[in-house]
């Protein structure tokens, strides 16, 4: 039993008053005016000897009523819940959550964070349990509750401080919402496991606190908390670090990679397709608006290339087009001034420098002989200068790759076939790759070498038997083939290739057919999944072959119908053969067959996407830190057994196991070199663009996403306030005072009856009653 307002117990002293008044003769009330007091001296008040109490029971009843009243006013409550607070293990369970994202690299934010964490650690009591979590886009438990409990009480804080001191900001983005949800769940997780096992440990009722030390940047992704059910017993105290006291550090501009223009993009800047497009974002609140973009490599800015001066007002974001840098041959160390003779390679692509020309110095033989050894420097990053924070000023880029591959075209020299070849070549005309077409006919059948070099095989006529055998072998080894059915007589050959008997085929009737049913889950037709692109009704097919497959062929999954005409006959079928894929068109794209070639927005993507091999994993070239890189499967490479490795920017080479499908080690921004066999693929890894959104947010906004904010009960006084609040809640639930008041009323009733009877008796015998 505890009391909310024990001070009211002083009211119980009131029972002494009637007794005291009874025992002390009252001070005279009367006043007597007298002409002069010159002959008088004060008389002391006298205590009487009237100590005899007449009605002890009455007095006791009244005293009891007063005591009970005082008891009720003191608001007693039964302290079952808070009892554990009094145990020696009473304390808080604290998760210290420290932001180590890239934005913490700004100015002295990390120092501030460490100081704040140290200051916080000084406020913890021996009864507290503290765990340290670091977070960027992931949560890194640095010092868990188990470690805390296992460590010697005297060493705990030191160990934690050591972990904190050894931490440093990473280059990753911030996922504040996820981190908070994760840590809050971890705090409550302990409860649930304990409760489940029936072990009611004192820590189950400990107050739980997350002490968050972060720069609370705008791009921290706090909104991820929205979908999280915040545990009601976890209080979050955000302690943001800020640069508020540094008025000269306000401008943060950043670079962001933009998806480069695709060949078909109908863009006004179509002429800029050979330029790199980057976002330059100048954050609101900055004081500077002029910046410079320069190409650089790992040794710094490459001399000889003029920086691009740009103007971006604060709060604006704009796309800047900058010509791709050419490899520069520097005849002196990079530290020499840029006026040194520079040899520029003249190359159409970055991967194939063809020739160089010497600029600047006259070509005198002695001078060249004495010049320092020349070095080719290839820019792989853009560096922005002119703002106050440089953590996000470098953008690593990989120049566009130009793929070269061959297409094997099998068809007669007829008008239709020439037409088809022409449209096929047009569809594949793209700066991203160089396509060579190898046209073969039945008269000049393709060789095995032709097949081996082909990325895609297109058939517009029935292949010969030997060609068919080569094709099957090609497909089984993972090749891609398109068979455009030319006439109904090709059914047996098709059946043979597919290994399906009973394929029926005939020419369709009617003036034309339209595509009615499209499976957009198929990679080939995936671009048309969106409603605005999915309209095939404008494409008329004048002729097509109606293929009737045996029921077991489709049900067994040998052949998958990707698209159908409005007469329900297949337009496009897909059949896996070995590791390869055969796609069958029942109508061609020549002008006599259909209007497919006219609808470029349908035809070009379909053809280009058919270049992709079945098990090929597309490996992009732009990533952000901690992004998982999907690796090309070992089997898709020309040599399935080729070793794969990745070289990090620090020069460390990591051999990838054959089974590995992903690479997770992108911890630092830079150029990662993926090596598959002999082929090198550079991958650019950058700081996530959201990380550059460094405008600070108010910690109160976290409560909008459901977090329970509270200031940390740092002082004993605040702990007391918290306890008091809990006690008030408890007392409010129990309301024992009501029962006491009822008792008092009952007592007073008894007292009234008793006093009445005494008075009655006293009247009868002529004695005045008194307590």
């Amino acid at each position: 039993m505890q009391f909310l307002v024990p001070l009211y117990f002083l009211g119980a002293l009131a029972i002494g008053l009637p007794i005291l008044f009874h025992l002390i003769r009252r001070h005279p009330q009367g006043k007597q005016f007298f002409s002069s007091l010159m002959f008088l001296s004060p008389s002391p008040p006298r205590l009487t000897k009237r100590s005899r109490l007449n009605n002890i029971l009455l007095l006791l009843l009244r005293a009891l009523a007063i005591v009970l009243l005082a008891f009720a006013f003191a608001r007693p409550y039964l302290n079952n819940l808070l009892a554990s607070d009094k145990t020696p293990s009473s304390g808080r369970k604290i998760a210290l959550l420290v932001d180590i994202s890239a934005s913490m690299r700004r100015a002295d934010l990390w120092d501030q964070a460490q100081k704040k964490a140290d200051a916080f650690l000084k406020t913890i009591t021996p009864a507290d349990q503290v765990a340290l979590f670091l977070f960027d886009d992931q949560v890194h438990p640095a010092f868990g509750f188990d470690q805390w409990n296992k460590a010697e009480p005297g060493d705990r804080v030191k160990l934690l401080e050591f972990q904190l001191a050894s931490a440093k900001p990473t280059f990753a983005g911030t996922k504040l919402g996820d981190a908070l949800a994760n840590v809050a769940d971890q705090l409550t997780q302990v409860d649930q496991t304990r409760t489940a096992s029936g072990d009611t440990h004192a820590s189950d009722t400990m107050p739980r606190l997350i002490e968050l030390i972060s720069d609370m940047q705008n791009g921290a992704g706090a909104q991820a908390l929205q979908g999280h059910q915040w545990p009601p017993n976890v209080v979050l105290n955000a302690d943001p670090v800020a640069l508020a006291d540094k008025p000269n550090l306000k401008t943060n501009a950043s670079l962001q990679w933009v998806a480069q223009l695709a060949p078909g993009d109908d863009d006004k800047s179509a002429g800029d397709q050979d330029k790199l497009r980057v976002w330059v974002n100048n954050e609101a609140g900055g004081t500077k608006d002029q910046f410079a973009l320069a190409w650089a490599d790992k040794d710094g800015v490459i001399p000889g290339i003029d920086p691009l001066k740009i103007y971006v007002p604060a709060g604006h974001k704009q796309i800047v087009r900058i010509p791709w840098s050419e490899p520069v041959t520097v005849s002196a160390p990079a530290t020499l001034p840029a006026t040194q003779p520079v040899t520029r390679p003249v190359a159409t692509t970055a991967t194939a420098p063809a020739a160089t020309r010497t600029a600047g110095a006259p070509a005198s033989a002695p001078a060249i002989a004495q010049a320092p050894p020349a070095r080719v420097r290839t820019a792989d990053r853009l560096v922005l200068s002119g703002d106050d924070f440089d953590f996000d000023n470098t953008l690593y880029v990989v120049p566009p790759r130009t793929d070269r591959f061959n297409i094997l075209y099998l068809g007669e020299d007829g008008e239709d076939q020439v037409d088809s070849l022409h449209y096929l070549q047009s569809a594949l005309d793209d700066p991203h790759w160089l396509v060579s077409t190898i046209a073969r006919t039945r008269a000049h059948p393709p060789t095995a070498a032709d097949f081996a070099a082909a990325r895609l095989v297109v058939l517009t006529e029935e292949p010969r038997d030997d060609t068919q055998a080569l094709l099957r072998k090609y497909l089984e080894s993972g090749g891609n083939a398109l068979w455009v059915l030319d006439n109904a007589n090709e059914a047996p050959a098709l059946g043979k290739l597919l290994g399906i008997d009973g394929i029926q085929m005939h020419e369709a009737d009617g003036p034309f057919a339209l595509i009615a049913d499209v499976d957009t889950t198929n990679p080939l037709l995936a671009p048309f999944a969106e409603a605005q692109y999915g309209d095939f009704t404008k494409i008329h097919f004048w002729h097509h072959r109606v293929v009737e497959l045996p029921a077991d062929a489709t049900s067994a999954g040998k052949v998958h119908i990707v698209a159908r005409f409005d007469d329900q006959s297949p337009f496009l079928m897909e059949a896996g053969i070995g590791r390869g894929l055969l796609r069958i068109f029942t109508s061609g794209w020549s002008t006599s067959e259909s209007q497919l070639q006219v609808a470029g927005e349908k035809f070009v993507p379909m053809i280009q996407r058919s270049l992709k091999r079945r098990d090929e994993v597309a490996t992009g070239s732009q990533f952000v830190v901690h992004e998982t890189i999907a690796l090309p499967s070992a089997g898709s490479a020309p040599d399935p057994a080729a070793p794969r490795s990745i070289t990090t920017p620090e020069g460390k080479t990591i051999d990838l196991p054959a089974a590995a499908a992903n690479f997770d080690g992108t911890d630092t921004p830079g150029i990662y070199m993926l090596k598959v066999g002999k082929q090198d693929s550079p991958l650019a890894v950058n700081i996530p663009p959201e990380e550059s959104d460094t405008q600070p947010r108010s910690p109160e906004e976290l409560s909008q996403w459901g977090a329970i904010l509270g200031s940390a009960p740092k002082t004993a006084g605040q702990v007391m306030v918290e306890r008091r609040r809990q006690a008030e809640d408890l007392e409010n639930q129990q309301k024992i005072w009501r029962w006491i008041i009822l008792c008092v009323l009952g007592l007073l009733g008894v007292e009234t009856l008793l006093a009445g009877s005494i008075a009655h008796r006293a009247r009868d015998i002529g004695v005045k009653p008194g307590a």
Binding site: P28, G30, S35, S36, L37, F39, L40, S43
Partner: protein, 340 residues
């Protein structure tokens, strides 16, 4: 004119006391007008006198004395010289009027009462009565009212309306936080050059430190001084029965007093104080009269006059020789009444 104080009034005090004509003080005090009260007292008083004061004023012959060289010839009785051919000087009684100053204490302590009227009311009536009485005798009466300071000052005069003004001044309410008798005595000593009668009406409930020096100064100036001490019966007996907080009417100071405990001490201290005052009065030849407000006013006046007669005789006997006419004070007492 001879004052009644001097004129040989035959006062038969015992007879007067026995008479039923006395108006008791509470009844008298119910009369609001002070003048009326004074008149009633004086009428009742006069009706008991054997001789009317109206008979007292005339140029009265005193004695003859044989001329000796150097005497003023103006006083030579030529008729007697014609009859007896002897030079005699004719001597007369003093014909100057009495100048009487009433010093009325109107401090707050005079407001005390256990009777239906206050000591101040009683004192006012005494003062008014004396003033009226003296006015009837055409004596000049002056008034000084005081508390810790001088309130009103009326020079001694005899003229129409003066008595009225005097009575109005007496009507003033009692005030003041203390009593400073010496200041009033000083005032009289400073302003009154001619010898006269000074009657101090007060309860004398104040320290008496400077009383002696002031009185002796007045006496040395030749004034006759009479102290009329007016006290409430409770002040004399301290007959309260309930303990109470006693509040000093002048200073406002209060004390818790249990009368049963304090009575003996009070009476002892009061007695000492009274004895001191009596001693001063005796030493300086000042007559002291203590009145209880319960006492009938006429009786008080009779007592007073009678006491004065005795005192006059005493002095006469003690002095052996009457004062000259210029000695207007009661200490002469050698008038015809004195012989009566």
């Amino acid at each position: 004119m001879k004052s009644a104080f001097h004129s040989g009034m035959t006062i038969e005090g015992d007879e007067r006391r026995g008479a039923a004509s006395f108006i008791d003080a509470p009844t008298l005090m119910r009369i609001k007008s002070l003048e009326m009260r004074a008149r009633i007292v004086v009428q009742g008083f006069l009706s008991g006198l054997h001789r009317s004061p109206h008979h007292g004023f005339s140029v009265e012959f005193s004695e003859y004395r044989q001329y000796s060289p150097g005497d003023d010839l103006r006083h030579l009785d030529w008729r007697l010289f014609a009859r007896s051919d002897r030079y005699y000087l004719k001597r007369f009684e003093d014909e100057t009027n009495l100048r009487c100053y009433l010093l009325m204490d109107l401090s707050k302590s005079m407001g005390f009462k256990t009777a239906p009227y206050t000591k101040a009311d009683y004192g006012r009536t005494v003062a008014a009565t004396l003033a009226y009485f003296l006015s009837l005798q055409r004596d000049a009466v002056g008034l000084v009212t005081f508390d810790q300071e001088i309130g009103d000052y009326l020079p001694a005069r005899y003229r129409p309306g003066h008595l009225h003004r005097l009575l109005v001044c007496l009507e003033r309410a009692e005030a003041g936080t203390s009593t400073d008798i010496s200041r009033a005595l000083e005032q009289v000593a400073m302003t009154v050059r001619k010898r006269g009668l000074v009657i101090l009406i007060s309860d004398l409930l104040s320290p008496i430190g400077s009383l002696r020096s002031r009185l002796s100064f007045l006496r040395s100036q030749g004034h006759e001084v009479i102290l009329m001490r007016i006290l409430d019966p409770s002040e004399l007996a301290f007959d309260f029965d309930k303990p109470a907080t006693f509040v000093d009417m002048e200073t406002g100071k209060d004390l818790y007093i249990d009368p049963h405990v304090a009575r003996a001490q009070y009476q002892a201290k009061f007695g000492t104080h009274s004895a001191e005052i009596e001693k001063i009065a005796n030493d300086l030849g000042v007559s002291l009269h203590t009145f209880s407000t319960a006492q009938p006013l006429e009786l008080a006046l009779f007592d007073f006059l009678q006491a004065r007669m005795h005192a006059g005789r005493k002095v006469m006997r003690a002095g052996g020789r009457g004062t000259t006419g210029e000695m207007g004070g009661g200490d002469a007492g050698d008038g015809p009444g004195g012989g009566g």
